[in-house]
């Protein structure tokens, strides 16, 4: 539907699921049904009132749907009858089929979430039940970087299931360092199309997110995971990259070929400065990452502030050029050794 459903439409849509549910789940508690259907208990009571006045055409005695109102008001349980013509819910709509089938297909691409065969079987059954409504589901795709990290994902999943501590060798690209840490796993998360382990890092003594494709080595330890009570999961709805106001603010000037930086990294400001160039400011928690970015950019962008950072980057480049000059001199000797 392109426009919001009316009050009556929403209610009827719910009633067409509520009635079969109540018929197949006698003695359900009002509170439980309200929670399941995501509405208030008062709304369920209003819904029951509508059912009470509905029935076979003609609405003669015996045609009405029967609702045991005494039980509702008394013990707070619902029993309905005389409505076998609506013992099954309405078929899935296109949006409903799409949302569910694409969600399950996304799980199929996420190693470590489930046994692959269970996911495949579920997809088949859903597509069968949805019929034509699922045809368009192929038109929506979520890519997940799953294959390369399947082994790591399985290990993480096992650690979560068995509640065991993990030992990781984790690569931090900004520092180009591989660090060793013990981590108590909390969650395996998919965010921005990539898989992450969220866990209590025993070294940092805080909750950390580890991107699976940066885990160079992983081992399950013979120790139980001990996630402290105060450990809070990160709210991933704000995205993976969450700069803090304490982070260093760096100013870059980008040439036309370097403008992709503004699209790729969240910038605090982005101003046109003529000749198709852009000045941006970015918050950086680790300046080493920014120095590497400056080297990658080469002539397509440069750090203008803070000046110390710009100077460090120039020093990095000089050191690298020295390494290239030295290697040229050494290369003929190495080749001679190898042959």
């Amino acid at each position: 539907m392109s426009r919001r459903p009316s009050g009556a439409q929403e209610q009827v849509s719910r009633l067409l699921s509520l009635l079969p549910y109540l018929l197949s789940h006698p003695n359900s508690r009002v509170a439980d049904v309200a929670r399941l259907f995501g509405v208030s208990e008062q709304q369920i009571l209003r819904d029951l009132n509508v059912l009470w006045f509905s029935g076979l055409p003609g609405l003669a005695m015996g045609d009405y749907i029967e609702v045991d109102m005494e039980a509702v008001e008394g013990e707070g349980v619902i029993n309905v009858s005389n409505a076998d013509y609506l013992a099954r819910p309405l078929r899935l709509g296109t949006d409903e089929a799409l949302a569910l089938v694409v969600a399950v297909r996304t799980l199929a691409a996420m190693p470590g979430t489930h046994d692959r065969s269970a996911v495949d079987r579920t997809i088949t059954k859903l597509e069968c039940a949805a019929g034509a409504a699922a045809e368009r589901a192929a038109a929506v795709r979520v890519e997940v970087d799953g294959d390369a990290v399947a082994g790591v994902a399985s290990a993480v999943r096992r650690a979560l299931d068995e509640k065991r501590r993990l030992h990781l060798s984790y690569w931090v690209p900004g520092r180009d360092e591989t660090t060793e840490r013990d981590v108590d796993p909390m969650r395996l998360a998919l965010a921005d199309g990539r898989l992450y382990l969220e866990g209590w890092c025993r070294r940092a003594e805080s909750v950390r997110l580890f991107r699976l494709d940066r885990i160079a080595g992983i081992a399950l330890l013979d120790l139980p995971a001990e996630v402290p009570r105060e450990a809070r999961s990160r709210d991933l709805s704000a995205g993976i990259f969450q700069p803090s106001p304490d982070d260093l603010l760096v100013t870059l000037v980008l040439e036309p070929a370097g403008r992709w930086v503004a699209d790729y990294y969240p910038c605090e400001t982005a101003d046109e400065i003529g000749a198709d160039r852009l000045r941006v400011t970015i918050r950086v928690s680790d300046p080493r990452w920014m120095r590497r970015l400056a080297l990658r950019l080469g002539g397509t962008g440069r750090i203008v502030d803070p000046p110390d950072l710009a100077a460090e980057t120039v020093a990095d480049a000089r050191a690298a050029l020295d390494a290239y000059a030295t290697t040229v001199a050494e290369e003929p000797e190495r080749r001679a050794e190898a042959s």
Partner: protein, 320 residues
């Protein structure tokens, strides 16, 4: 309570059409379905048409037809049970757990609601989804871009659309006309693939670069979507290209994991290792290697080495 009265009338209409084995003419509906009672003919007509539309919008298949093939009888309405009902579906416990997990995937309001309604229908049919299991798995697919929903609807309905598109930050927006084929998510960003009517060729657009609204530009069902292989090819620029070339790089010990993990050979040396690394594009590899500074030296091929040195010289301010 107007909502209550209308809901009752709609429920009674659905039940009437569902239980009747023949087409029920409008005049009979007016007599036997509670709620159409005393009102003028005109008012009844309007009310009935609106009710039919409301039910059809919910996905209820109301058919029109006549019991009399010669067409003398007043046309009527019917709902076929087979078209109306959710087919039989039984899930094993592990499948129910998958469904419970799937119910948590969408972070987008409309898609999350659609998933909830779907799961509720399945529950009503006796399928018990297991949302409690696997609480430690957090599969999230977010949709930040406002252009997503109208483009999804256009893909669903095969309706051409028009929108303003800005190629890059700071560029002026141009008006585009598209026959959308598919929407896809790569690394958290959504894209639409379709046929660009003005350029007469397939095109890919990043949804975050769509400026303002997406408006209809034609009738629903007015174009065909090509086979999956064509749609995939149009989204090709999103797929990382095959790494057909090989480069040799010297990497300082303890550094360069990003290169080491995809090296096809590693020759260990004295403080430095010599790696063979596959790559697709020389410029992209030069960017990557330059980022490592003095810890990685690209040995060959020469043309990529030149490009690394060019980048480093530009940082220092020397001419390339």
């Amino acid at each position: 309570m107007p909502t209550q009265a209308k809901s009752e009338r709609l429920m009674n209409l659905v039940i009437c059409l569902l239980v009747s084995r023949t087409f029920v003419p409008k005049s009979r509906i007016r007599q036997i379905v509670g709620g159409y009672g005393e009102q003028s003919d005109e008012a009844f007509e309007r009310m009935f048409e609106r009710d039919k539309d409301d039910l059809r919008e919910l996905g209820i298949p109301i058919e029109t037809g006549s019991n009399d093939p010669s067409g003398d009888e007043e046309p009527g309405y019917s709902i076929r049970r087979q078209e109306f009902e959710l087919p039989e579906i039984h899930l094993e416990p592990d499948e129910a757990a998958v469904l419970g997990l799937a119910a948590r995937v969408w972070q987008h309001a409309s898609l999350a609601e659609a998933t909830s309604r779907a799961v509720l229908k399945l529950r009503a049919a006796g399928v018990d989804t297991d949302t409690g299991a696997l609480a430690a798995i957090e599969p999230r697919v977010a949709v930040e871009e406002p252009a997503f929903w109208p483009l999804w609807e256009a893909v669903r309905d095969r309706r051409p659309v028009t929108f303003l598109h800005r190629k890059a930050v700071g560029d002026a927006a141009t008006r585009r006309h598209l026959q959308p084929w598919s929407v896809q998510s790569w690394h958290g960003r959504w894209y639409v693939v379709g046929y660009d009517v003005d350029r007469e060729a397939p095109r890919l657009f990043r949804l975050s670069r769509v400026v303002g609204g997406v408006d209809p530009a034609g009738e629903a069902g007015s174009y065909a979507v090509p086979p999956a292989s064509v749609v995939r090819a149009a989204a090709d620029s999103l797929v990382p290209p095959r790494q057909r070339n090989l480069a040799r790089v010297r990497v300082r010990g303890g550094c360069g994991y990003g290169l080491r993990r995809r090296a096809v050979t590693t020759q260990q040396g004295n403080g430095w290792d010599l790696l063979t690394v596959p790559y697709a594009d020389g410029g992209v590899l030069a960017d990557e290697v330059a980022g490592y500074g003095a810890d990685v030296v690209l040995v060959e091929p020469d043309e990529v080495r030149r490009r690394v040195v060019e980048r480093l010289r530009a940082v220092v301010g020397e001419p390339a």
